[in-house]
Amino acid sequence: MSTWTISTRSAAGELPVASAEATLSTDVGSPWVNLGIFALFVVVTLYFVIRASRTTKTSADFYAGGRGFSGTQNGTAIAGDYLSAASFLGVIGAVAVYGYDGFLYAVGFLVAWLLALLLVAELMRNTGKFTMADVLSFRLRQRPVRIAAAITTLAVCVFYLLPQMAGAGGLVALLIGVDSWAGQALVIAVVGALMIVYVFIGGMKGTTFVQIIKATLLILGSAVMTIWVLALFGFNFSGLLGDAATNHPDGEAILGPGLQYGADAFTRLDFVSLGFALVLGTAALPHVLIRFYTVPTAKDARKSVVVAIALIGAFYLFTLVLGYGAAALLDHETILAAPGGQNAAAPLLAYELGGTLLLGVISAVAFATILAVVAGLTITASASFAHDVYGQVIKKGQLDEKGEMRAGKITVVVVGILAILGGIGAQGQNVAFLVALAFAIAASANLPTILYSLFWKRFTTRGALWSMYGGLISALVLIAFSPVVWGRPTSFFPEGSLDLYPLTNPGLVSIPLAFFLGWLGSVTSKVAEDPAKQAEMEIRSLTGVGAEKAVDH
């Protein structure tokens, strides 16, 4: 599996972990420098969040940042939202330990953005108000479609949020030498509390500023390290690859695929399934979609994606250099023995290059990464519950601006507390697979309905419901009977044998199934949808007429 190993339990044995932790926390870097730089980040972002709160007066301010961000700002924030710890620590670590397979994994995260650019971003911006459900229920029956879209949104947010929160605990073990359960739980609570404060006070504007600052730090930090690594090899990439192969116990094998996903036909197919989920899931992630409503027009939504593509593309090029750089410059056993295992590669490389200070910066960036991503997920979950479920379904759209914002703020606190409890509960569990599951659910439960409702005239409410529930349920059922849960040393039930589905990613089956169900449900519908509504949606999506305008303060 991909993503990042969070639990110290799943690292290579208990004893070496404990001793390496002692080594890392005493010899490598200073916890106080790491904490100090992170505290500085918190103070600076808090300033922007409080400033943002002064202009957050309406629900359009709270959920969509007043639609007043520029394309460049929003594109940077998208990069900040999207480049999670799984990208930063996970991909660099995967390349450092498994070589090429880490790169193979990273490519999908970038390619996926073309789908958002070509088919989704502008059309969604033109037809929605705050959430994905606004678009999906536009020309279908409001209530059932909105409820289904809110359920899939919340499912994706929760599955994405849990590993981030649990990861905060693991990161602390790595960066500031806190390795007790209680210490890590405390850190999860602090991260969660900070996130609640950010989102509660600053809403989408505050969240956006946090993401912009984090993305800038992350990309600048990795750019500096990349140039540094390349300089050490005289800007000879081939030489870097050669040294990485010489320094790695698997030698030349790290320059080709197979070390992580190549064990047998099933692990290979598993990777194809993961790639499928990544490339089709990104454009349907609710916390990505909600960002398109923070800009004034569809043209700015387009610009946002272009900027995001440039930043995300540059970032993944950096991870290729940094991953092989870590393989060339660090001792393989040291990486594996460090707390957090392969996730330690990036921080260890930072220490190798720039000592305590650079390690401190990179550690703070890693923290900021988690904070910004959970803030984005929380505001998305809050918008989905308060706007879709409470405002539109329960109150039937009769809620005023103030009421909708109040509901949103209450939801933020509830979601935040649940995330803290869930994160503490998931600590030390093998929950890394949940990120890949979130992508698979987005690709199966959301994407077919998004594309059908934008591009297929004869799509119906029944098709939407079959596709959304079918995609969600099939993904969950497949994962419940997969090796993630049964029969492997890292499974929840290592002794069990109910692993009827051989892959750890459901995408290969659930995505085509959801597309099929959307078609089948539509062609078997006895009730046709309102053609006038379809015409209105198509005209609005392509021309932007009647689209939500920026808030004028």
């Binding site: 073309l114 080709g256 996903y261 194809v272 290729l320 209105e536 005209i539």
Partner: protein, 120 residues
């Protein structure tokens, strides 16, 4: 034929607009670019993933020094992404935006999409 009632106050028959040649031309302009490009990049990427997963030996063929076919194919995905993005931006600016702007301005002149209430 009842006209669709826009919630922002103007009566516009969207189906009539949808059937017009200029709107059909706008839709065709978007789809004739976006659909083939989507198919192309998905095939390019999925071929990459399948070859990398099932024919790893192909990727290990060295091309320049230690830079092998796998690294080059991987980097080609970046070229595809940046390339399609650049062409799309040019295409939308030159071909899409003038057409969508014309229809939008015409509809707005007829009263569609104007704010329903004066903001407090």
């Amino acid at each position: 034929m009842t006209s669709a009632h826009d919630h922002r106050g103007a009566d516009v028959n969207y189906q009539e607009v949808q059937a017009r040649a200029d709107f059909r031309e706008l839709r065709r302009t978007h789809r004739s670019f976006a659909f083939p490009m989507t198919v192309f990049f998905l095939l390019w990427y999925l071929t990459y993933v399948v070859l990398g997963s099932f024919f790893p030996q192909l990727f290990t063929i060295k091309v320049i020094g230690n830079v092998n076919l796998g690294v080059l194919y991987g980097l080609s995905n970046f070229v595809v992404v940046f390339g399609i993005t650049a062409i799309y931006v040019w295409y939308t600016n030159a071909r899409m935006d003038p057409k969508s702007k014309a229809i939008r301005e015409e509809l707005e002149a007829a009263g569609v999409g104007l704010p329903e209430e004066v903001k407090a």
